[in-house]
Symmetry: C2
Subunit: 151 residues, 2 copies
């Protein structure tokens, strides 16, 4: 189980994974060795899955973010699998979920510009035999980004 110190530690590491054991210890009123040991424990127990670098999409030339809702036509398992494979191969699609409701899939996409998003939809998604309809929404502004998970 997680005590209060563990929760603070997890929150801190979500904001900045490069905190040293020493800095962590200062925040938590713990010695560096104890702070490090707690982190090890949380990693071993599976609370922490890993560490990733946060990139700046705009700096990389990815000026358009969007969400694409995809509705499949014939709901056969083969078609769904084939579509799932397509999703895996496209780098513009960074995350994908199957959902309840009308839309079967929700895709999070990053594209260089609107023409690129348009090409993704009309030349990649719509031509796939399983796809019946897509509905795309474009991100205008991100008002909250990757806040720490509640604990």
């Amino acid at each position: 189980m997680l005590d209060d110190t563990d929760k603070k530690l997890l929150a801190a590491l979500q904001k900045n994974a490069h905190l040293t054991s020493h800095q962590l210890g200062e925040m938590l009123n713990l010695s560096p060795s104890q702070a490090g040991r707690r982190r090890q424990r949380l990693e071993a127990e599976g609370y922490i899955q890993g560490y990733s670098a946060r990139l700046d999409p705009d700096r990389l030339g990815l000026h358009v973010q969007g969400f694409v809702q995809v509705q499949l036509g014939t709901h056969g398992p083969d078609h769904a699998r084939s579509f799932a494979r397509l999703v895996q191969t496209r780098p513009e699609i960074t995350s994908a979920w199957t959902m309840t409701g009308e839309a079967d899939y929700l895709l999070r996409v990053y594209c260089a510009d609107l023409p690129a998003l348009n090409r993704l939809i009309h030349e990649v998604l719509l031509p796939h035999p399983a796809v019946a309809r897509v509905h795309s929404q474009i991100v205008m502004d991100q008002i909250k980004r990757d806040a720490p998970l509640p604990t």
Copy 2:
């Protein structure tokens, strides 16, 4: 500008930010000092915004993920600001975007269970004076998770 080695480095660090300069050097056919220097450069030039820990939502008891589309009623700037502030205060809402299309906001939410999501919608979102309609979609499965951004 980014050369091919930089792109590989960014892709590797998105998967695992705890790679040492030595490991990075092996992948890129570079010495540890050079790999580290490249990373420093990419950080300084703003390609890398920071590093975060990836937590396991399920391990934390957050068994329900969803997306909530929110449509505001009166589109006055005061109402919108007030709603944006509400979004910031709720820990279940980890990300939020303003969007094109019918829905004004898209919220990404993590809840312990369905009743908790229900409470969030009916006791937090809908009572807000600016909110006209909400439409929630629940994640059944994540088929692609945080793939590296295309470079």
